[in-house]
């Protein structure tokens, strides 16, 4: 194993030089306040970055970057490390010129189509809620077999933020909607792809769907849809339309490119499932995880993230023997609906190979499947919605490898 940065063994002169020789920061004067009006992480944290997976896409504007889950704590994803998914590149849009239009698929469905400015939207009643956003294609590279080395690449198309925005229902009510006929809602972006996706009106009526401008206390980041995006808790990221410019209420689903050609799940019988939107119960151990090396035998805190698009987590179990035996993990409060939950379990590594897994159960009682259970139903060509149990092999060397079990 790689050397642990430790004060032992004690050098012959009776102490750790990092203690005996006072460092410059203990004997000098540091930097002033507001060195940066907007601060940044330590220079020693430069390894913690979002990254592309080489070869996954042919261009970088219709592509993905993955959040470094192996280096994150708690449940909030720093906005600078939020995963990215663009279809036609990202933009930094002037918010004073951005508009939101609301209309109907015919004149009877929405009585008064309207236009809103950001100033106006930000006057309306807003809420702030913690939710995860996961791309429907997260873990997609792993459907067939092991393809990538770390949890950044296996699971890093997920992030979690405190979002702030106006419940879409409030905006629709402003325009006068026929909720009996208008059971489908189209979101449309302002970027080149002008991304469209259909949502069920039920989700809007629940009050959960937000027209959001805030993320982790500040405005959305440009990469994540500044100045306006949809927040659709529990639903795959592609529906959280960025650079939101228009909402249409209709009496039929819209058959958008990303619900007819992509974000469709190929089943073993050759049929494509369309409108598969919910992100089902899922979890992953992030520490220790693939591509890491344990520094020593002894105590470790196994820790990871769990989530479900159907509500709160009920429990997470962890196995260190590849699923033969399980122990119930601690869930870190607060456990919120359609939000990441951090779990942990004490573990003492005896130096022998171990197979670490986590298995989440949500409040509906849905238990996360193994690869065998998942493939028995869906085959291995779905691309989307892989929520199988992840296995990490801890080798005797301390190195952790991504594996799949038979």
């Amino acid at each position: 194993p790689a050397a642990i940065a430790q004060a032992r063994p004690v050098p012959p002169d009776g102490g750790d030089p990092a203690i005996l020789t006072l460092p410059a920061h203990s004997t000098g004067l540091g930097q002033p306040v507001v060195t940066d009006g907007y601060g940044l992480p330590s220079k020693y944290e430069r390894n913690v970055q979002r990254r592309q997976s080489p070869g996954l896409t042919q261009t970088a504007q219709a592509s993905v970057s993955f959040a470094p889950l192996q280096s994150l704590f708690g449940i909030v994803t720093p906005s600078g490390l939020h995963f990215e998914r663009h279809h036609q590149g990202w933009w930094d849009i002037d918010p004073s010129r951005h508009r939101l239009m609301i209309n109907g698929s015919d004149e009877a469905i929405v009585r008064t189509p309207k236009v809103f400015t950001m100033d106006e939207l930000m006057r309306l009643p807003s809420v702030s809620r913690f939710h995860f956003i996961e791309c429907g294609a997260n873990s997609g590279m792993e459907w067939g077999n092991v393809a990538v080395p770390t949890c950044q690449y296996t699971h890093g198309m997920i992030s979690c933020s405190e979002f702030t925005g106006v419940p879409l229902k409030i905006l629709l009510d402003q325009c006068g909607v026929d909720y009996r006929r208008g059971r489908y809602v189209l979101g449309e972006g302002a970027d080149g792809s002008s991304m469209t996706r259909t949502l069920p009106m039920e989700l809007v009526e629940s009050g959960e769907v937000l027209v959001a401008y805030g993320q982790n206390g500040e405005m959305l980041r440009p990469e994540n849809g500044y100045p306006l995006r949809l927040v659709v808790p529990g639903v795959q990221g592609v529906s959280w339309v960025k650079y939101l410019r228009r909402i249409e209420v209709g009496d039929q689903p819209y058959g958008a490119k990303d619900e007819v050609i992509h974000y469709v799940d190929l089943m073993p019988d050759g049929l494509h499932r369309q409108y598969t939107s919910t992100q089902e119960v899922k979890s992953v151990v992030t520490t220790p995880s693939g591509g890491q090396v344990l520094l020593d035998k002894g105590y470790y805190q196994i820790s990871g993230l769990a989530w479900s698009g159907r509500g709160r987590l009920r429990r997470v179990d962890v196995s260190v023997d590849g699923g033969r035996n399980w122990q119930q993990a601690r869930l870190q409060e607060p456990v919120m609906s359609k939000c990441l939950t951090r779990f942990s379990l004490d573990w003492t590594w005896d130096g022998r190979p171990a197979l670490i897994q986590s298995r989440a159960t949500d409040e509906t009682g849905h238990v996360q499947p193994t690869y065998r259970q998942l493939r028995a139903v869906r085959g291995s060509r779905s691309i989307y919605h892989n929520n199988a149990v992840q296995t990490w092999l801890v080798q005797e060397s301390g190195e952790v490898k991504n594996v799949q079990l038979s």
Partner: protein, 237 residues
């Protein structure tokens, strides 16, 4: 019937004008609601394609350079049945756009809003009809002399190779209108002791691919209970 607009937030937002709606309400649905009147020929489509599309998608729509191939993998028989036979073959490698698309409106709508990729929304209505027709012609769906229009697009729909290849019979639509399954189809078992599992490693990252994502030591922070493993090729400094 549509409710009266709520007056709770009077003065916030104003009615959209007809011109504004026309400028932004561009979506086209599977029932062709939203489709502008017009037409375009396969012949004209070839012109558009070769001028504005082929550089990225290849002369036959088969290029994998900037995106996966649009055309290929469908047969005359698929056009007849509306099911792409190759989708049942787990051995078939990629999936082209034409193998998957089940509604022609989706092609029309998407090309109209998003293509060419670097100049979206620059095509005329005629160009969109024409180049959509040409794409389908490249895929063997439409004959060389076809002129596609708002009047015959429903017929074109009836030729799409994968028009019958889709389903919403699943539990993943969070509304009542689509999706007919009540419960998730793939679920685990909450066993805790001596579970019926053979923990045999069936797939492991091959050694030669261990470094395909760069040096993992540089993808973990410098301190922590675990460090990143050094995956530089042997001999690298």
């Amino acid at each position: 019937q549509a409710a009266a607009p709520s007056a709770g937030y009077a003065g916030i937002g104003r009615p959209a004008t007809a011109k504004e709606l026309q400028a932004w309400d561009i979506d086209v649905r599977p029932d062709f609601k939203g489709l502008p009147k017009g037409s375009g020929s396969v012949a004209k489509g070839m012109e558009v394609w070769e001028g504005k599309c082929a550089s990225c998608h290849g002369i036959f729509g088969e290029s994998n350079e900037v995106f996966s191939p649009l055309v290929g993998g469908t047969t005359k028989d698929d056009v007849r049945t509306g099911r792409v036979a190759r989708l049942t073959d787990p051995g078939f490698p990629g999936r082209t756009t034409l193998m998957k698309v089940s509604s022609v409106s989706t092609l029309w709508d998407y090309i109209n809003r998003a293509m060419p990729w670097n100049q979206p929304k620059s095509l005329t209505v005629e160009e969109v009809y024409a180049v959509t027709a040409y794409l389908l012609n490249l895929g063997g769906v439409l004959p060389d002399d076809y002129v596609m229009s708002d009047r015959n697009i429903a017929e074109v729909q009836q030729r799409l190779p994968n028009r019958n290849g889709v389903t919403t019979a699943h539990a993943m639509w969070p509304g009542a209108g689509l999706g007919r399954a009540a419960r998730p189809d793939a679920a685990g078992v909450a066993c805790m002791r001596d579970c019926a599992t053979e923990p045999k490693v069936a797939s492991i990252l091959p050694d030669h691919a261990r470094g395909a994502h760069g040096n993992l030591a540089e993808q973990n922070r410098l301190v922590g209970a675990q460090h990143g493993v050094d995956t530089r090729p042997a001999g690298a400094a």
